[in-house]
Every structure is written in structure tokens, then in C-alpha cells.
């Protein structure tokens, strides 16, 4: 193993200025039970500039009022044009199918969002959290919308092998997937499933394992900022025992492809 340019940058404060870096898992807003300084969008962009993150895919921090949260993300997009990709948070508890579809349409067509975020806040995350049949699925409008638009859905919970197979035009990103590699390995042969690497626990070798099993084309850099530090997560990619080309894909190229796929 030689010290490629990413490894050489691990111990340096030099930003990754010659590499496209898209952070695929970001939030704005306060989160439950955490203390952290400078969590507002100005504090986030200060770090993004210092580290060398070109663009951030942001959803609100899973607030119960999805429209309010999505509007706050849109405000960040207006303040930092070209730097922020809006990700629409959908909460099916807030209304029926029409409300869900209306909010997705508003965010994509009026506000310029290019991604979807869902999270199971009922307490159970992985590996299997859907407990209803297809005809009762309250998130069906979201799956269908993503399928129509070719959008990526950052799934914190809910995702199953069958679901991803049922909507091949949508792209499913397993939020914090690097923390559940055994779950990811079950989804290896579903090509529209991607692994977000913003897990709180990531043992040495996990990223290499995921790249070998899924291919580096399906692994996405994400930090979960401002719940977590993007420098720490960048280090996981930069120092991994994979090729420099694979690191470039994971840091930004793969997410760029997903964003470009949205109509």
C-alpha cells in the first residue's frame, strides 16, 4: 500500500480542493439529546469550506412538522446557491397519501429539491422495520414519486429487499448503512440500493468489505452533520485500503450521478 494523495492529506488541514466532495447525509436544526456548538447553516458551511465539501445534501433533522422543516432547508438553499441539495423529508403520520404527494411535488417542482428522506421514528431501525403489506404501505406515494422522478431516497429504516425490487426506478440509500454491513450484504444483488457510510460505529475494514461486496459505485460518503464531524468521516474514506479512483467515486462522483438522474 502506498500513500496516495488522500492518505497524505489525513494528517493535514488542507481541504480536498481538487476532488468533488458531496456530503450525502446532512441536516440542519437541533437534534434530540445532543450538545454541539455552531449547528446553524453558517457554522455548517464554515466547516464545509475548511474541509473541502463542495455540496451538501440536506434534510431537516426529522422534525415532526415536515413542511416547516422542508422550508428551512429551502431557505438554506437560497442562502448558499449551488452548494446545497434539498432533500425532502416525508412523514406519513402527518397526512394521507395526497398530503405526502403534495409535499414531495412542492419540494421538487417549486423548491428545487432532488432527494427524499424518510426515517422510522418509532424506535426500531434495522434490519427489518416495515410491518405492513404492500397494499397498506403508507409510504407508497413516496416510493411511487421517487420511481417516477428517478430520485434517491435516504432510508433510515423501512427498506427491504422486496421494496427495492418493486421500485427499480428509484434509488434507495441505506442511511448509516456502513454500521450494519450484514444488512447491506443481504442487498448486494439489488442494484438500486446504495450504502450511506455515516454510521456512528465503523470498524476498520468495513468500507473495504462494502466496496468488495457492492462495488465502490454503490457506496456514498455521508457525515450526518451536524450530528457528527465530517472530518472524522472523511478520514474513513481517505485512509481506506481501496484505490484512489474508488475513493473519488465514494466522496462525490456517485452522489453526483444520483442527483443527475432526477427528473
Amino acid at each position: 500500500m502506498h500513500a496516495d494523495r488522500f492518505i497524505q492529506l489525513c494528517g493535514s488541514d488542507e481541504p480536498l480542493s481538487d476532488t468533488l466532495v458531496i456530503d450525502g447525509h446532512c441536516h440542519v436544526g437541533q437534534w434530540i439529546g445532543m450538545h454541539a456548538i455552531e449547528r446553524d447553516i453558517e457554522g455548517i458551511m464554515e466547516v464545509a469550506d475548511a474541509v473541502g465539501i463542495d455540496r451538501l445534501c440536506i434534510n431537516y433533522a426529522a422534525c415532526p412538522e415536515m413542511r416547516l422543516g422542508n422550508d428551512l432547508v429551502a431557505d438554506c438553499m437560497r442562502r448558499y446557491p449551488g452548494r446545497i441539495e434539498g432533500v425532502c423529508y416525508v412523514n406519513f403520520f402527518e397526512g394521507g397519501e395526497q398530503v405526502q404527494r403534495a409535499e414531495l411535488t412542492r419540494c421538487f417542482d417549486e423548491l428545487g429539491f432532488r432527494g427524499v428522506k424518510i426515517i422510522d421514528m418509532r424506535g426500531s431501525f434495522y434490519p427489518q422495520t416495515r410491518d405492513w403489506f404492500e397494499e397498506d404501505d403508507p409510504l407508497r406515494p413516496t416510493w411511487e414519486f421517487a420511481q417516477e422522478r428517478g430520485a434517491g431516497i435516504l432510508c433510515h429504516g423501512y427498506l427491504t429487499y422486496e421494496l427495492a425490487r418493486r421500485y427499480p426506478g428509484a434509488n434507495f440509500i441505506v442511511a448509516h448503512g456502513s454500521g450494519v454491513p450484514a444488512f447491506m450484504l443481504k442487498l448486494v444483488d439489488v442494484q438500486n440500493v446504495y450504502c450511506d457510510m455515516s454510521a456512528t460505529s465503523m470498524l476498520a475494514g468495513t468500507l473495504e468489505l462494502l466496496c468488495e461486496a457492492m462495488g465502490p459505485e454503490r457506496v456514498l460518503y455521508g457525515s450526518d452533520l451536524p450530528a457528527s464531524d465530517p472530518g472524522q468521516r472523511l478520514g474513513m474514506v481517505m485512509d481506506a485500503k481501496i484505490s484512489e479512483a474508488a475513493k473519488t467515486l465514494i466522496l462525490g462522483r456517485n452522489m453526483q450521478g444520483l442527483l443527475d438522474n432526477v427528473s
Binding site: G11, S12, D13, E14, M34, T200, D229, G231, Q232, G235
Partner: protein, 255 residues
């Protein structure tokens, strides 16, 4: 700017489910350090916390022989009641004879129930304090016992106490009172990932209380390294965390 790094937390010796890409031998550790430009590291042996503390420590000393310029051994310690190690003062004398400048104390190790008992650890911690040998404490399989940590810091005020494996973001709220109340309390940063977390600690408590460690080969070297290098604090503060704080603590050990 590139920082100089002194790693407080590297391991040799294998553990179950170890990823083969990340080495467990001295040569592999040195290669990894060279790759990332880490000058020196404090090293412990996998056997010393799970299988055989005495053999683990002895094996460590043997394997690091000839690498003293870069690799410094850290011995695991425990109370003497099971006969696995000599009584605290004798153990510390042996550590001083062998040039051991850091002790590791493992609580709640997977598969066992070794916990802090003040009456059982008094002589040991007292002897470590007398020698000013820093003790790195880890609750391996559970949340750190904050009240035990506070009691140790308050009882042995001249003993540098370093908490390691303090990785989960939500726990950091509990660090603040410990850092505020106990000047001898330090945090080793491996695996920590709080948003601007190191920066927040530096702002409130200064940079002297945070120690760089990689926890290699459990974690990758670059994770914590990158976080320390890129934190938004002046270069001199980052350099203190990366290497100088640990060097200072070791320099204060009474030989």
C-alpha cells in the same frame, strides 16, 4: 499544514473477528505509522485485557524490544486479589523498571464483569499517582461509569486520568462536568465524532485535556487523525492534541 502525531492508543495482538487488512504485528503497525506519518505510538497487547494480563504485558515488552524510539509499551493493570498481577506498589515498581509510562485499566470487558471497586484499587491507583504514571481507563462494553471516573479523579488528584473509548456523540454532555470539576481528567479522542466537538471542548477547557489516539487496528488510523487535523482551532492547539499533550504527560512520569 501537516501535524506531527503521537498515537496514545495502538494495539498489537489479534482479537476475534479482526479484519485482516489491518495488521496486528509490530512490523505491520510500523508500516501503518509510516504510511500516515505517525512518529510514535503507545502500544498495548490484545491478550492483556481479555485473556492473560501478565502474559500479555510480558509479550508486549518482548515484541517492542528494539523499537523504543517509536513504540512505547502500555501495561494493563488490575487489582492484585486474583494473583494475576502483584500488589499495586510492586506492580508499579516493575513498570518503572521496565520503562512503562502508561497504564491501562479495562472495566466491563466483554465476557467478564471487572468493575471499579474503590477499596480494591486504592493501593494500585495510589502507587500510579505517586509515580505520575497516567492511567487510561476504558469501559469496553458499556457506557463509562461517570461517577466512578469522578471518584477516581477526585481521590487521586495528581494522577492523570485518560478516558478512552468515549466514542458516542450523545455522551459528551457528561464530559463537560468531569472536565470542569477535575483538572486531571483527559479524553482520548479515538472514535469520537461529535460535531465540532473537539473545538467546543477546546473553547471551554483549553486544548490540554484532549489526547490523540487512533485505536488502531480496531479503527482506521485516518479517522481521528483527520478530525484533529481539520478542527477549526489554531495550529498550535491542534498540535498539542496531536502529540504535545501526551508527550507532556509522559515527561512528568517519575522514573
Amino acid at each position: 499544514m501537516r501535524l506531527e502525531f503521537f498515537d496514545a492508543n495502538a494495539r498489537i495482538g489479534s482479537v476475534p473477528n479482526h479484519d485482516p487488512r489491518h495488521g496486528t504485528t509490530v512490523d505491520e503497525l510500523l508500516r501503518e505509522m509510516d504510511l500516515f506519518g505517525i512518529a510514535r505510538a503507545i502500544v498495548w497487547h490484545a491478550w492483556s485485557n481479555r485473556w492473560d494480563i501478565a502474559k500479555g504485558n510480558a509479550e508486549l515488552t518482548k515484541r517492542l524490544w528494539g523499537h523504543e524510539d517509536r513504540l512505547l509499551p502500555a501495561w494493563a493493570v488490575m487489582h492484585e486479589y486474583t494473583g494475576q498481577v502483584p500488589p499495586g506498589p510492586q506492580l508499579v515498581d516493575r513498570m518503572r523498571d521496565e520503562g512503562i509510562k502508561l497504564a491501562r485499566l479495562f472495566f466491563s470487558v466483554w465476557g467478564s464483569s471487572q468493575d471499579y471497586m474503590p477499596w480494591a484499587y486504592g493501593e494500585l491507583l495510589g502507587a500510579l499517582q505517586e509515580a505520575r504514571i497516567p492511567v487510561m481507563i476504558e469501559w469496553e462494553s458499556q457506557r463509562p461509569a461517570w461517577n466512578d471516573l469522578a471518584r477516581i479523579c477526585a481521590t487521586y488528584t495528581a494522577l492523570p486520568v485518560i478516558l478512552t473509548n468515549a466514542k458516542v456523540t450523545q455522551w459528551e454532555r457528561d464530559w463537560y462536568p468531569l472536565l470542569a470539576e477535575h483538572p486531571n481528567f483527559h479524553i482520548e479522542a479515538a472514535g469520537y465524532q461529535g460535531w465540532r466537538g473537539l473545538e467546543g471542548l477546546c473553547r471551554q477547557f483549553g486544548p490540554r485535556r484532549i489526547i490523540f489516539g487512533s485505536r488502531y487496528p480496531t479503527y482506521q488510523v485516518g479517522q481521528t487523525m483527520s478530525m484533529v487535523a481539520r478542527m477549526l482551532r489554531p495550529a498550535e492547539e491542534r498540535q498539542m492534541i496531536a502529540a504535545a499533550n501526551l508527550a507532556r504527560l509522559l515527561a512528568e512520569v517519575i522514573d
